[in-house]
Symmetry: none
Subunit: 211 residues, 4 copies
Amino acid sequence: MPLVTGRERRRQLLDAAIWTFARKGFRRASISDIVARAQVARGTFYLYFDSKEDVFLAIVEDFHDRVRRMLEEPEPPVPLADHHGRALLQRTLRRWLELFAGHRDAAQVILKEATSIDPKVEAGLRRLRQLGLNYFATRFERLQARGLVNRGVSPDLLAHLQMGMMDEAVIGFILPEPRGDVDALAAQIASFEWDGLRPDRSGTPAVPRNV
Amino acid sequence: MPLVTGRERRRQLLDAAIWTFARKGFRRASISDIVARAQVARGTFYLYFDSKEDVFLAIVEDFHDRVRRMLEEPEPPVPLADHHGRALLQRTLRRWLELFAGHRDAAQVILKEATSIDPKVEAGLRRLRQLGLNYFATRFERLQARGLVNRGVSPDLLAHLQMGMMDEAVIGFILPEPRGDVDALAAQIASFEWDGLRPDRSGTPAVPRNV
Amino acid sequence: MPLVTGRERRRQLLDAAIWTFARKGFRRASISDIVARAQVARGTFYLYFDSKEDVFLAIVEDFHDRVRRMLEEPEPPVPLADHHGRALLQRTLRRWLELFAGHRDAAQVILKEATSIDPKVEAGLRRLRQLGLNYFATRFERLQARGLVNRGVSPDLLAHLQMGMMDEAVIGFILPEPRGDVDALAAQIASFEWDGLRPDRSGTPAVPRNV
Amino acid sequence: MPLVTGRERRRQLLDAAIWTFARKGFRRASISDIVARAQVARGTFYLYFDSKEDVFLAIVEDFHDRVRRMLEEPEPPVPLADHHGRALLQRTLRRWLELFAGHRDAAQVILKEATSIDPKVEAGLRRLRQLGLNYFATRFERLQARGLVNRGVSPDLLAHLQMGMMDEAVIGFILPEPRGDVDALAAQIASFEWDGLRPDRSGTPAVPRNV
DNA sequence: GATGAATGAGAGTTCATTCAT
DNA sequence: TATGAATGAACTCTCATTCAT
């Protein structure tokens, strides 16, 4: 029996690639860097991946799997309360941010190195993105149907905006800092999304001039 | 007098680079591609730019200038109305989206090729991003001070979320389609931001279960 | 086991570079020329040398080693004779000239291509030159101490003059001809050095006019 | 009438080239460097010289002229003395070294950048070298004929050795120092050449062993 | 004569990929 | 499976030279 199975060797190379791409970027990282990190020979890389592009695609698909598994995981019930919809939203955002916080190198690669590499990679990224968009859109739709969310905005647009905010929150607050307070971040975003910017829900604002 | 001035030749090469990077990506685009597009010799490129990285930086800075000029432009007054703050917000978003819609190739390059290229390029992108963040943060702060916007969220976080939504809106709705309805898009985003997701501002939602 | 070891491949490339530089000069020789001579691919060159400058430095250092090994080699005793010092000198010159005659391409490169290439190369050439200068200076000093050589001239200057004569003898009489009589050349140089130009060691020259 | 004549402009460019080649070497110096030094436009260079190689050849020939003029200059008589031949030799060496000391940049270019550039340049350098060799050979021959110099060595070989010593003296003692004592240098070299290394012109050295 | 923007051949170098061991 | 020396296409960049003004 070999010391490492094929599965393990592949994982080892994949992690080395994630680590390398996160630090050098796809373009500047070389196969040499990856195999040096993985402590295997150059040729070994090509036993598990077809090309440099292929290992990038594998990273995307690996992350895709993680997202899918997270989304499929059953969620613990939220205590019924006044702002039930908001609590659900906040929990979702937290789980989403936690996933990225738990895999910062991969997140870095997916979010910041997702440059035009290859049609196949492009497709993989599109699928990953679509997974998120579908999830959020379906979710908003259901919440609207149940009267838990304002029906005035299209679930599809909402999903896009949600994804944009998530990306930016990860890039701006999770990737740079070793320990961001994910909980607080999710709470604040949920708060903004739930209540909106309108200052006073009853009265008229007092004589505003142009800014 | 030469047929083209140095300024024009530089612009010509810059536009060729934008066009090329938007289609092939920074990595796959070669200097040969750029000069072929610009219809000049290979060496001419190096009279105006130091390197492939340098021309990318120039693109970023060119776009930076456009954004700055747009932000400095005086805005026509918004008719005083019930939802004054919302109207102001919507107008800002529209102008922002219009700028990107008016320079789709450049937007594509900035938003999708903003990969790790070079420390200098990195810095340039950071400056561009900061320009937007500062603008939105200042704006929200002022509107809050004037009572036109809910004081419950930090202007800084708001700015980040706003930028995330803008990026995603551009990537999702402006870059793919030749003619997106920018006005409608701005209106919908403003609507979501203004009112939030809360379904009913008075009553309690009716017996929701977990989603 | 590969057909050639790394050591051999390096030597093969080094020899090809010596051959090429000797014929085309550093400037006009291209990496293509070198690898064509060595019958390997272009990239192989860069497995063994960092750059074109680096291989030149390697040539210099390779020759440095040869000179050092020659100088360290024990010399067979010279039969005690009337002109003991002169015999020692002649033998040294012969060995020196033989080394260059035995590696004419390298000598050509070292002596005629020793142009300003690189600070590192410059330093390497300086070390090589210093090796020779030190050897001759030490030698003269010892011979003076033992009373075998005229004490009227500084060993340091003597070393420089000796080096100059050697360089010129190699350039003028060894590099151009496939088979120069190294022995006779060494004998004549030693003769000149030993006896000097003074025509008659006792009498006064007869009524010389200006030349 | 133009501000500068063609002759002057050519000289200006020639001096700029000497200055540049002395500092950067032929290979690393560019036409840009030369015209920048001469403060003229790039194209102007090509009105006076055919190519980069051509200007190098012009430098060689310019120096050739200087050497020739010096050699043709009548020499002041040397006071008749005991060592008449030695005094003549010393004066010649001094004049030779003075020429190089008076044109250090050109000397640097001729002696250290005289790398393989071009067949034409090669030929020019050969002519320059031959000028010196002929001069010394003729000189030694005449001195031998007049009994002022030892007849035991061939004038031709002597000329080569003399040139080698001159080159080395210039490289080692004149080029590096702003103010070398040319007189003393000439005196020491003449001393070595005149008297040789033989320690004692009458007795036998006392029982020397091998070094 | 003088200019300097434009040229483009050609250089050195990189590195993803292969394959004999 | 694993290795790593070898490959060579493709790249960026330089710079001597030209020529319309």
